[in-house]
């Protein structure tokens, strides 16, 4: 009997190798069909109308003029008279028609009667928010020794001690709201077959979305099939059915024709999710070695109308000094509601606090590396030693010691100064629940079937590799089917849970299938099934490989029917876990800053990352490259710009919403950290962790270059010049 444990490190034949992703050619040649690409016959195109005002009451929405436009087939209001609209871009109506032009004209023809209401959008300005009555307390958390009676007095005493023996800094940091900017916007192509609905849906949650369509449409969840073979970006914003897709399904029903509704870019950015902002005022005291003794902070920010800011739990981030007070204020704004954004809370927490740790180093005139190292004993997880080890590796790859200069003390060449910065991060990444079916056919064919999805991590490839490892076959011998709600349920892809989840279920299912096959082969080879193993495309006797049959011959013993085995993994219930949680990583940035123009360039970026057992080294490296580049994006380029006077989102188009381009990325060096202790933990999710630290690492590098802090991300030329007093 084969057992499900992973092979020991160094003995696997497929795990840890780097095959190309299974769907690489299909994606690169345009053959892969995304939701946007599904074009059923007689399909109507639909678009929605976003609200032009930041806050208003609907008096009426008249779609009749739209219906008179040639080519428009259907139109519906999506708000009722009396409804309050809380942000610019919230959806007022939907129009379906024969062509893009007809639909655009139809949307323009809709008559709106809206009563403007008072609005507020400035999330950075706490004072203005208080004045506008848009704030509320969102948490207060204090840690002191038990015997402290007067908290203020105690903190005051600690700060005095630090002032005397070490250093105290007072500073402000921040990170603006950014959007998900999925290149494929949210949306669906809806097709009814009688009373059954097929929704091609751009989703991170193939197995969990059908009920959200069924309930508002008044059909049984079993009559809804959700399909997503490929998704053009999600990053945490695509778990739901969403009202606009439900409306598209409704129009498909009423018109008797398939309807495709994808959000236009502006509506996508205004209404389909964003990452909350975070701004902080902090006082930190440390001893003369830079070890933080006391932290006292107040942070605020917004996630839209509800207000919920970044959690207090990530302040300060990873480091956790013995005495701390953290106060949080929520600001309610008339802006689109936030959705989970890759590693919720962590990038902002890191950018708002590990910058302060770097400023401790600056104030003391000591190497930032040493300050980070000396504070490792306080980390919130059990990874102090891992971080120390990773820091050593990262410093070597960066050549940190040779390049280091104290903050602002580096040489200047033609107005350009260089600097180094670092940051560390942590994430959970435990496997999600997952089920799969493995089929082994009498002709030797192997199939894995799961209701999972591929966000770009390479889910198909990971599944194929686990099956191939288990059955002793090459990766291309495995056919993988994912992307349908009619397949065995797998969890939503969020929080770095997918690779762990599908590996767990697939390894179990494939092992069960193999054991069924071994039982068939055993009599033929005259041994017990537990003396057999699958290796190199053969079923062989352990220790006597000459006694064997080929995979194909083994499968021919099955007769008429294929083997079908199930693999199930339930968090916390399944034994012999093949996965674990808890990731750590260290990142270092080297930048060049032009003091005249304020332009920051990334010269080199180093990322050292653990992820337990690595399934595919090439895909893992891609994930980290991508995370670093996404981190460079929010560190240097992207932000949502709101106009305080009109309440409008000013840069809700790709030409105005600045993102890095190919030439903006310097050298990126990735180290996959996988000592035996890591490998033996099994699979740990990788999607979120490496996107967390770039903001702080790059901010720290810029501060090291300039000798002054540019407090708010992104570090645009204007902000850099302002920090230099040249604004």
């Amino acid at each position: 009997m084969a057992n499900i444990d992973w092979p020991k490190q160094g003995t696997a034949s497929v795990l840890g190798t780097s095959p190309d992703r299974l769907d690489a050619i299909a994606k690169a040649s345009g053959a892969a069909k995304y939701t946007y690409d599904i074009v059923p016959d007689k399909m109507l195109l639909a678009r929605v109308l976003g609200c032009p005002l930041a806050h208003c009451k609907v008096k009426s929405i008249d779609v009749a003029p739209a219906l008179k436009v040639p080519g428009v087939v259907a139109a519906e209001p999506m708000k009722n008279a009396g409804d309050e609209v809380l942000w610019e871009g919230d959806i007022l109506a939907i129009v379906a028609g024969e062509t893009e032009g007809a639909v655009a004209e139809g949307l323009k023809a809709i008559k709106l009667d809206l009563e403007p209401l008072e609005f507020y959008v400035d999330d950075a300005n706490l004072e203005a928010a208080e004045k506008a009555d848009r704030t509320r307390p969102a948490g207060r958390n204090v840690r002191t020794p038990d015997d402290v009676d007067d908290e203020d007095e105690y903190f005051e005493k600690l700060f005095k001690e630090c002032e005397r023996d070490g250093v105290v800094i007072e500073a402000e940091y921040g990170v603006n709201v950014i959007t998900h900017m999925c290149l494929e916007p949210h949306g669906s192509t809806c097709v009814w077959e009688g009373d059954k609905l097929i929704v091609y849906h751009s989703t991170q949650n193939v197995s969990g979305t059908a009920p959200q369509f069924a309930s508002p449409l008044g059909v049984a969840a079993s009559d809804v099939t959700v399909i997503c073979d490929y998704i053009g970006g999600g990053f945490g914003s695509k778990f739901q059915a969403d009202e606009w897709s439900v409306a598209a399904a409704r129009l498909a029903k009423s018109t008797g024709r398939p309807v495709k509704l994808m959000l236009d870019r502006a509506t996508e950015l205004k209404t389909a999710g964003n990452r909350p902002s975070g701004f902080i005022k902090v006082k930190v005291g440390a001893d003369k070695n830079g070890v933080v003794k006391v932290w006292d902070s107040h942070h605020w920010g917004t996630n839209g109308p509800a207000g919920a800011p970044v959690s207090q739990a990530v302040i300060p981030y990873v480091f956790d000094p013995p005495n701390r007070r953290r106060v949080v204020t929520s600001i309610s704004t008339n802006t689109g509601p936030a959705r989970a954004w890759r590693a919720p809370n962590h990038p902002q927490g890191c950018a708002m606090s590990q910058t302060a740790y770097d400023d401790i180093a600056r104030a003391l005139g000591i190497d930032s590396y040493d300050v980070f190292l000396r504070n490792l004993p306080s980390v919130t997880n059990d990874k102090a030693e891992v971080y120390a080890d990773q820091m050593k590796i990262a410093a070597k790859l960066m050549d940190w010691k040779a390049k280091w200069h104290p903050h602002g003390k580096g040489p200047e060449r033609d107005g350009v100064v260089s600097g180094l910065g670092m940051a560390i991060h942590t994430w959970g990444g435990a496997a999600h629940n997952s089920s799969c079916t493995i089929k082994v056919h009498p002709d030797g064919g192997v199939e894995a079937i799961l209701g999972s999805q591929d966000l770009g991590t390479g889910t198909r490839t990971v599944i194929a590799m686990v099956v191939a490892e288990t059955l002793g076959l090459p990766v291309d011998a495995v056919k993988v089917s994912i992307g349908s709600s009619k397949y065995p349920a797998s969890g939503p892809s969020g929080g770095s849970t997918t690779v762990g989840g599908v590996s767990e279920s697939t390894r179990r299912g494939a092992t069960a299938a193999l054991n069924m096959l071994l039982a068939k082969v055993a009599p033929k080879l005259g041994v017990d099934a537990d003396q057999l193993q699958a290796k190199n495309g053969r079923i062989e006797v352990i220790g006597n490989p000459s006694k064997s049959v080929s995979w194909k011959e083994a499968c021919s013993l099955l007769g008429m029917n294929p083997i079908e085995a199930q693999g199930n993994f339930q968090r916390g219930q399944s034994e012999n876990s093949l996965s674990s949680s808890g990731a750590a990583g260290v990142q270092m940035a080297e930048v060049e800053v032009d003091r005249e123009t304020g332009v920051v360039r990334i010269k080199k970026f180093v990322a050292v990352q653990d992820m337990g057992l690595i399934i595919n080294r090439k895909l893992a490296t891609s994930q980290i490259h991508g995370s670093v580049i996404m981190g460079i994006a929010y560190a240097l380029f992207e932000e949502r710009i709101m106009d305080n006077k009109t309440g409008k989102f000013l840069n809700a188009e790709l030409s105005d919403y600045k993102l890095p381009r190919l030439g903006d990325v310097g050298e990126v060096v990735v180290e996959l950290y996988e000592p035996e202790s890591e490998y033996n933990r099994g699979v740990v999710g990788l999607g979120e962790p490496p996107v967390i630290a770039p903001g702080a690492a790059i901010s720290n590098a810029v501060c090291n270059a300039l000798g002054v802090r540019v407090p708010v991300l992104p570090l645009t030329p204007a902000r850099v010049l302002a920090a230099l007093g040249k604004g």
Partner: protein, 204 residues
């Protein structure tokens, strides 16, 4: 590297005349017959639109009959009439490169090119680089894993193909400078550079 030619069609179609006397932006959606049309008629030019007209487009070496309104973009026609969905709608203003196709040897954005302006031109989409024997650039993207979600990838592949056709011996720095018209959100740039370099080394 982008050489946007849209709006300067040399197809001989009367649309240019139709636009005379009114701003292009207004005319692109105008349906009413106004003074511009009257002037065009005086010159004896054949009028097209506002309804659909039949047009032959040469795409990937084959002629296709399509029904085109003057306001239709090449992207809309490729995707919804010819079901060639490799070029993607991401930005409507061509600022992302996801809808890059090659027209008469030049990379352009199908999202900002009117279909009518492509009459008589040779249109090449990413699909022509696939098939059983994929183009070297497609294979290099697979090998370098220069894709994650993959939505920007076809546009990048076409842009890299067009760039290397023009600069077969491009250096890494030239590649970094020359491919800034395409946008990726997943962050595949580093690997796209590797893929392009691979093609240079491979003697593209």
């Amino acid at each position: 590297m982008k050489d946007h030619d849209q709006g300067r069609g040399r197809s001989g179609f009367s649309r240019r005349e139709f636009l005379k006397g009114s701003s292009a932006a207004a005319a692109a959606t105008a349906l009413s017959v106004g003074p511009a049309v009257a002037r065009a008629e005086e010159k004896g030019t054949k009028l097209v639109g506002p309804g659909a007209t039949s047009l032959t487009l040469n795409v990937n070496g084959k002629d296709h009959q399509v029904q085109v309104e003057p306001r239709m973009t090449l992207l809309e026609v490729l995707r919804y009439q010819l079901k060639l969905t490799g070029a993607k709608p991401v930005a409507t203003d061509g600022s992302c490169g996801a809808a890059t196709v090659i027209v008469d040897g030049k990379p352009i954005s199908a999202a900002t090119t009117l279909a009518l302006d492509c009459k008589g031109k040779k249109i090449q989409t990413v699909e022509s680089l696939g098939g059983p024997e994929p183009d070297q650039v497609v294979k290099a993207f697979a090998k370098a894993d220069a894709q994650q979600c993959g939505f920007c990838t076809p546009g990048f592949v076409v842009a890299v193909r067009a760039f290397l056709d023009k600069h077969p011996n491009a250096t890494k720095e030239e590649i970094r400078q020359g491919l800034n018209g395409n946008l990726c959100r997943c962050g595949t740039y580093y690997d796209v550079i590797e893929a392009a370099l691979e093609c240079v080394k491979g003697g593209s």
